[in-house]
């Protein structure tokens, strides 16, 4: 009985120490932010206009393919990555998957005014402008047509790695995705992205370990919440696509997670058996001396 009391006291102080240094301290160090909003209700989106993909195809061919490739319908990039990076600061994305990766209302808002949809207006002051011009001179119907077209050409299924490649890899390298082959470097050369963003965006190889899943969702959905003034744009990923990005980060950064979780239970099961036998033997031995 006395031993049990002593154990409770030790556990009590250990518990308070753990609580103070871990969960409590973390709430102080990382103040609460609002939950992510995947409806992007802060932007003026499609406003319920139904778009025509057929009309959208023509509008896109006329207005967009000067900078953007659409490989899924055979439209190649107008120039190579290095050249476009040096002109625009960053490689313009291929639009094949945009209709699936990004929220439709967000896309509409983005086409109208990229800097405000991405929440990066603070970067484009004193004459600097977003590399993609605003299309707010278009009719809302035309914008809806563009979005409808992009949604119609996008693949129905897309792998985690492809989501990352399309939505993130222009700026972020993820070395561990191909450690020896080197194919998962950022597609925009370092020098260009550094002058465009102000710094080289971090390699994401271990971001699944250095940031929690909750933080990643909050951050990707609106970078300004956690890092006010950051140059990282809000890209408008749907929750489904964002989940795929995080799954990819886990595949690359914590590839042994499944093995760890499946080994844990049997390992602890063995230790329970070990502990039971240890106690039984202790009781047997000490019975002789009490």
């Amino acid at each position: 009985m006395r031993e049990f009391k002593i154990f409770i006291i030790v556990a009590f102080f250990t518990g308070i120490l753990y609580w103070g240094v871990e969960p409590f301290a973390h709430t102080q160090l990382h103040p609460h932010v609002e939950a992510p909003d995947y409806t992007f209700k802060d932007v003026e989106g499609l406003k319920d206009i139904i778009g025509s993909a057929k009309v959208g195809a023509e509008i896109v061919a006329t207005n967009c393919t000067a900078c953007h490739s659409i490989s899924i319908v055979g439209i190649p990039p107008p120039m190579n990555d290095a050249s476009s990076a040096s002109i625009y600061g960053v490689v313009p994305p291929d639009l094949s998957t945009s209709g699936k990766l990004y929220d439709a209302n967000y896309l509409a808002a983005f086409i109208k005014d990229p800097a405000s949809a991405t929440l990066t207006q603070h970067k484009f002051k004193n004459g600097a402008s977003h590399p993609m011009p605003s299309y707010n001179w278009m009719q809302p119907q035309e914008i809806a047509d563009i979005v409808a077209y992009l949604q119609s050409i996008a693949p129905k299924e897309i792998t985690n790695k492809e989501v990352f490649a399309h939505a993130c890899q222009r700026c972020h390298s993820i070395k561990y995705g191909d450690f020896y082959g080197g194919t998962m470097a950022a597609t925009t050369p370092d020098a260009n992205i550094k002058s465009y963003m102000g710094m080289i965006p971090p390699d994401l190889s271990q971001h699944i370990r250095s940031r929690s899943e909750q933080y990643l969702h909050e951050f990707i959905n609106n970078p300004q919440k956690h890092l006010k003034g950051t140059a990282m744009p809000r890209v408008g990923l749907t929750l489904e696509s964002e989940n795929q990005v995080i799954e990819y980060l886990t595949e690359v950064g914590e590839s042994k997670k499944a093995e760890r979780e499946s080994l844990g239970a049997p390992f602890l099961g063995y230790l329970v058996i070990f502990a039971i036998f240890a106690w039984l033997w202790k009781i047997k031995i000490w019975r002789q001396v009490h």
Binding site: F277, K284, Q288
Partner: protein, 169 residues
Amino acid sequence: MSNQTNRRDFLGMSFAAIAAVGGIASLVGMKRAWDPLPSVLAAGFTTIDLSKINLVPGTPQTFAWRGKPIFILEKTSDMAKFDGDLVIADKRYTVAVGLCTHLGCIPAWNKDKWKCACHGGAFNANGQQVFGPPPKPLVIPPFTVNGTILTFGYEGTESKAMIKARVQG
């Protein structure tokens, strides 16, 4: 020791056995931590396209596979045909690991045979030992053939046949 060891300590022995099981499992885990890494095993496959490497008949070239030299010789019409040749289209090749079977030095090609500088061993154009201390012909690496492309790392029918011919020949 306790004076009452007349009864077997079954509980103690079971406990010891359980602890031993844990110990052995740990040793197995430790052994596996020393296994070659997946990237090392993957890098153990090298591909060579015979049509692209510009072989000059009668002059062998050397390539690296798993850190070892590989000799590839396209035989001239003068060189005798051998059952253990690699035949692709109408050309005959000798493919072998370029390490002397005596003590592992790399022999050098001299006109019509490989001569080892370390202890004077010699191998003919078929890779068979013809002089000196080497006890066996040059080793045939495991490889598969696909058209003119050789992939080193897996055993294929051609490499098996080449090994067999040398044992008999």
